[in-house]
């Protein structure tokens, strides 16, 4: 008996076994179906991975307007800011953006300098929470308080509250940014001072699964220690940069 005859006999035997209704036959058929299904699913996953590798990215337009006025924040306010610089890095997968948020306000009537604090930051409607470094996004929370990890590690936020030389920390964090802005933002130098401006530098890493394919909608909750109406009016009347520039000596306070 040749080898071919032996193999043919074996196949016939297996075929006959599978066609029977015995318990062993049914178990064998289930195992074969499972194996086949697993192969099909793996094939689909392979196709999806291939599509992922072929991700063509997106076209991002930041389009800043040179006629935009920098806002002045008094009290507590939510502001999206104005994009004043953008830089693509890391083989087009990391987008750096500078968001100018407010003018730095002056002194209160009593002479105490006002301070603008960063309270919270929202991205596409999600409130962002930070990792231990106070810069890198950890969890994000929706309006109902449900958390997600989809932005975790993909976004970094560096706040500044008085020009490039004054890094600050979110009030919710114990640590945060301590570097000058021009040491963080690629292509910036020491002449990029952002004089008397409150701003944030944001680093966004592309991730199609987390739907980070655009700059997105950032919103910052800022609180200015200057919130009393008298202080605000005084600042607005005397400030030579964004106010009326009236000499203090001419105001009876």
């Amino acid at each position: 008996m040749s080898f071919i005859d032996t193999l043919g006999g074996l196949v016939k035997g297996v075929g006959g076994f599978l066609r029977s209704n015995s318990l062993g036959s049914n178990l064998a058929k289930s195992a074969l179906y499972g194996f086949a299904l697993n192969k099909v699913l793996k094939s689909i996953q392979k196709d999806q991975d291939a599509n992922q590798a072929k991700d063509q990215g997106t076209q991002v337009s930041v389009n800043p307007d040179p006629k935009n006025s920098v806002p002045v924040v008094y009290g507590t306010a939510y502001t999206s800011g104005i994009i004043t610089d953008a830089h693509m890095a890391n083989n087009n997968t990391t987008l750096w953006v500078c968001l100018t948020l407010s003018e730095k306000t002056g002194n209160k009537i009593g002479g105490t300098p006002s301070i603008i604090n960063f309270n919270e930051v929202y991205y596409n409607g999600f409130r962002l929470d930070f990792k231990a470094d106070g810069i890198t996004v950890d969890k994000a929370y929706d309006d109902s308080g449900n958390s997600t990890d989809k932005f975790s590690g993909l976004i970094q936020v560096y706040p500044f509250n008085d020009g490039s030389l004054n890094p600050t920390t979110f009030t919710t964090e114990s640590t945060g940014n301590s570097s000058n802005a021009y040491d963080i933002m690629p292509s910036w130098s020491s002449t990029d001072r952002m004089d008397q401006l409150v701003f944030a530098i944001v680093k966004i890493n592309y991730n199609a699964r987390s739907r980070i394919t655009q700059v997105g909608d950032f919103k910052f909750k800022l609180t200015n220690t200057m919130s009393q109406p008298g202080d605000v009016l005084f600042d607005y009347m005397t400030n030579t940069r964004y106010g009326a520039g009236i000499p203090q000596a001419e105001i009876n306070v």
Binding site: D55, G57, T58, K67, V70, L95, D192, R193, D195
Partner: protein, 198 residues
């Protein structure tokens, strides 16, 4: 603060003008020095806050202003008549425009005693001026009338546009060598290929 004038049978009012000229000179080539010019339509010299106001009498005219409770944006004209040619250089060579103008008013009895304190009446800035010459043919001399047009501080503030715009020129007006907004013009209309790996 209001002055009660009901108990006086007669009184005189005088107006005092104070022009603070930052760049003042009387010759075409001299150096500028800050100077305060003071004059009034009173009949004698009068001192307010250590500034002595030269009496010009009828040679000084100030246009009417309406007295309102609220701050008004009314402009005012100050007319200085009878100015000889020799003194015209003060107007011609000084940078009068932009100078701060304050006008006070004081009340006096018929005998010349001041009633109450001096009242601030108007405050503003020199907006423009013009010179009218009156030439005397027989005497071959000329006298001049200088009219100074002043704009009120209220009007000036209403016209003022302040604040930083997000463009390079705007930030450089406040911080000359700041390059923070230099890239804004080049970013207009530009697109980034986000996620397109090369």
């Amino acid at each position: 603060m209001a002055i009660n004038l009901t108990s006086y049978s007669g009184l005189r009012a005088a107006t005092f003008v104070r022009i603070s000229v930052t760049d003042y000179r009387t010759t075409p080539t001299g150096s500028y020095t800050p100077t305060v010019l003071t004059f009034s339509d009173h009949n004698t010299a009068f001192t307010i806050d250590s500034d002595t106001y030269t009496p010009l009498g009828n040679l000084l005219g100030i246009s009417d202003t309406s007295s309102e409770l609220r701050q008004t944006n009314q402009d005012i004209n100050i007319t200085l008549s009878g100015i000889p040619d020799a003194n015209l250089g003060e107007v011609l060579y000084s940078k009068l425009k932009g100078s701060e103008v304050q006008i006070y008013r004081a009340y006096f009895t018929q005998a010349g005693a001041q009633i109450g304190s001096t009242q601030g009446r108007w405050k503003g800035t020199v907006n423009n001026y013009n010179i009218d010459e009156e030439y005397e043919v027989l005497q071959t001399t000329a006298t001049n009338t200088v009219q100074i047009n002043c704009i009120s501080s209220h009007n000036l503030l209403a016209r003022k546009v302040a604040g930083l715009k997000t463009n390079p020129n705007s930030i450089k007006t406040y911080s000359a060598s700041d390059t923070s907004f230099d890239r804004v013009p080049s970013l207009i209309g530009s697109q980034f290929d986000f996620g397109v790996q090369r």
